[in-house]
């Protein structure tokens, strides 16, 4: 049976090297080559290849953001020149990766491992949960979300505050509100705790956007943003806010 593969790397020479290493493996068919993260997400959806050679440091979206946006978990072989944060996460979760420059032998090994896991789709693959955990634990620079089939990228520094609704969250950033299905606590863990403070059970506030804290009612408080919007602050939230500033 032939295996389909996708190569994602913004450097042409790096893609050609993988192509060359793959030439020895006659059973692998390269169905797509991508030079940035956004294109990779599109191609993954279009041709759902069984194997993905994924560079971490790519323009538009990083390799890890590609996984987050596409939901892809199996058959991924990471390649990276140097990214100490990603490498630490890989080691922590025992995810296999190729360090550039890599030899044919090392490449074949990683390919063999991925192939073995693809060969038994019924068996629980260790890679998927490990990747899941790694993605949910990393610190975000931007938040990805899908709205009406389109992928949006929101830099975290543009976020004003995030509000929890029933089973989704509302991200208020740059005069817009975005909906994302994720729990507030989950997202809170991925954001810089020095910048984002849980001021209320249902509100996560970017303190750089806060203008003042005002009293409201007996001993209640409310945070006033630079543009005048008001975010409720609970008693515990007020304590956290005070220690943060």
């Amino acid at each position: 049976m032939k295996l389909t593969a996708l190569i994602a790397d913004d450097e042409e020479l790096a893609r050609r090297l993988i192509r060359e290493y793959l030439a020895r493996h006659a059973d692998i068919d390269i169905v797509a080559e991508c030079e940035n993260g956004l294109q990779t997400v599109g191609e993954l959806a279009r041709c759902s290849p069984q194997l993905v050679f994924l560079d971490i440091q790519m323009p538009k979206l990083t390799g890890l953001e590609v996984l987050e946006a596409s939901g892809r978990r199996s058959g991924v072989i990471f390649t990276t020149a140097y990214d100490e944060y990603a490498l630490k996460a890989f080691d922590l979760h025992a995810v296999d990766y190729l360090l550039k420059p890599f030899a044919q032998e090392r490449f074949d090994q990683a390919l063999e491992k991925a192939r073995r896991q693809l060969g038994r789709p019924a068996a629980p693959t260790p890679a998927a949960p490990a990747l899941e955990k790694m993605l949910s634990e990393r610190r975000l620079d931007r938040i990805l979300l899908r709205e009406r089939g389109q992928l949006h990228v929101i830099p975290v520094e543009s976020v004003d505050y995030i509000e929890a609704q029933d089973d989704y969250i509302l991200i208020h950033a740059a005069d817009k509100s975005w909906m994302k299905t994720q729990s507030l606590s989950e997202l809170e863990k991925q954001l810089d705790p020095r910048r984002f403070i849980r001021v209320h059970r249902s509100f996560l506030l970017n303190i750089e956007r806060m203008r003042s804290i005002e009293r409201q009612g007996g001993d209640g408080h409310v945070a006033v943003l630079q543009d005048g919007r008001r975010v409720p602050v609970s008693r515990a939230g007020h304590e956290r806010l005070k220690t943060a500033i």
């Binding site: 450097e11 020479l13 790096a14 944060y85 620079d141």
Partner: protein, 372 residues
């Protein structure tokens, strides 16, 4: 507050000196035959001690007339006026104290402050106050000297720190390993290109090691370094990357810290050209005008591009992803070398990102010409 109050030890010495002055005054009163020792001491010691605090006000008079901006006449008038006021105050203190002494009605507390003694007291007050003014001037000058030395040491430490950071940045692991990966790919595709790239990479590292150790280099040397860097990057990014130099001949010998232009080019590629699928041209210009050297780096960037390229903005400082040396470090090194007379600004115009650097034009002597 006056610096003397910050140390009990100093205050003690100061009071002792004034008590000695008081004792001398008492001794002269006794010698003149106008008072007994008890009466003379009872008069002179408290008056001098009180006046010692008045004399401390000289500190504020000196501080209000900074040494560097003094004019002889203005200073003379101010000092004389302050001394006269102080002298009159001393007479006032003396008069008040003698009347208190009289009202106490004790024999050794009485002292007759005659007109003659009032004049004497006034003269003494003026003289001592002038002395205090000069002493304060001396101390302030000494303090200024010390703080200037401290500032210089601070700026040296800052420069060293910046240098260290620059050295670390030179060996950008991402650049090194990606280049090695490209060479590895080229060995089978195009052996000659692999060799060219190996040589350019070696040359780049050799130049950074040699230049990084030097306090200042000529613009021509920095350009040589950038050309090796671009040779490597052009092979890595292929047709996507190109560079155009517009450098005035007169600008070549300009002195600057090493590794100022190269990180700007690195940023232009990393946050600009790399994100464009069609690639682009980096425009580098340098010119000398009216004693200033102006360098600009201009690169196309995508519309949705965030502000990452301006890694100098403080919000990016704590972000480990921005491992690029950043504008902040360049700014610090330029400030250390040109004593604050350097400016670096970046802006976005539509689809262009422009960094502009303005520094005093100081030609470095015996600069080697631009390497071809």
């Amino acid at each position: 507050m006056h610096p003397i109050f910050s140390s009990a030890h100093r205050l003690q010495w100061y009071a002792s000196a004034w008590l000695f002055v008081g004792a001398m005054l008492a001794a002269s009163l006794v010698a003149a035959g106008d008072a007994l020792w008890t009466n003379a001491l009872f008069f002179a010691l408290p008056v001098c001690l009180l006046y010692s605090f008045i004399a401390l006000s000289a500190y504020y008079v000196c501080r209000s007339l900074p040494l560097a901006q003094r004019q002889a006449l203005h200073t003379g008038v101010s000092f004389a006026a302050a001394a006269v006021i102080a002298g009159l105050t001393l007479v006032g203190i003396g008069t008040a104290w003698t009347s208190i002494g009289r009202s106490l009605g004790i024999e050794w507390g009485a002292f007759e402050l005659t007109r003659r003694y009032q004049v004497l007291l006034f003269g003494l007050g003026v003289a001592l106050y002038l002395l205090s003014l000069f002493a304060h001037d001396g101390l302030i000058a000494l303090e200024n000297l010390r703080s200037a030395e401290r500032r210089e040491a601070d700026s040296r430490a800052l420069a060293r720190e910046a240098e260290l950071q620059a050295l670390r940045a030179q060996i950008n692991p991402h650049f090194l390993f990606n280049s090695l990966n490209s060479i590895s790919a080229l060995t089978s595709l195009d052996a000659a290109a692999a060799r060219t790239m190996t040589i350019a990479l070696a040359q780049f590292f050799r130049q950074t090691l040699a230049l990084g150790e030097r306090q200042k280099i000529a613009l021509s040397e920095e350009i040589g370094l950038c050309e090796s860097f671009l040779t490597v990057e052009k092979i890595r990014f292929g047709k996507k990357l190109d560079a155009a130099w517009h450098v005035q001949q007169a600008a070549l010998p300009a002195a600057m810290p090493a590794m100022v232009l190269q990180p700007l080019l690195e940023n232009a590629i990393k946050h600009g050209i790399r994100d464009l699928s069609e690639g682009g041209v980096i425009e580098i210009a340098a010119e000398v005008r009216e004693g200033w050297l102006r360098i600009s780096v201009n690169n196309p960037c995508s519309i949705e591009q965030d502000t990452e390229q301006s890694a100098g903005n403080p919000t990016n400082q704590g972000n480990p992803r921005h491992t690029g040396i950043g504008l902040q470090n360049i700014r610090q090194r330029l400030a250390a070398m040109f004593d604050g007379r350097a400016r670096i600004a970046c802006r976005r115009d539509d689809r262009q990102f422009i960094v502009e650097l303005t520094i005093p034009f100081l030609p470095l002597e015996d600069t080697p010409g631009r390497p071809s």
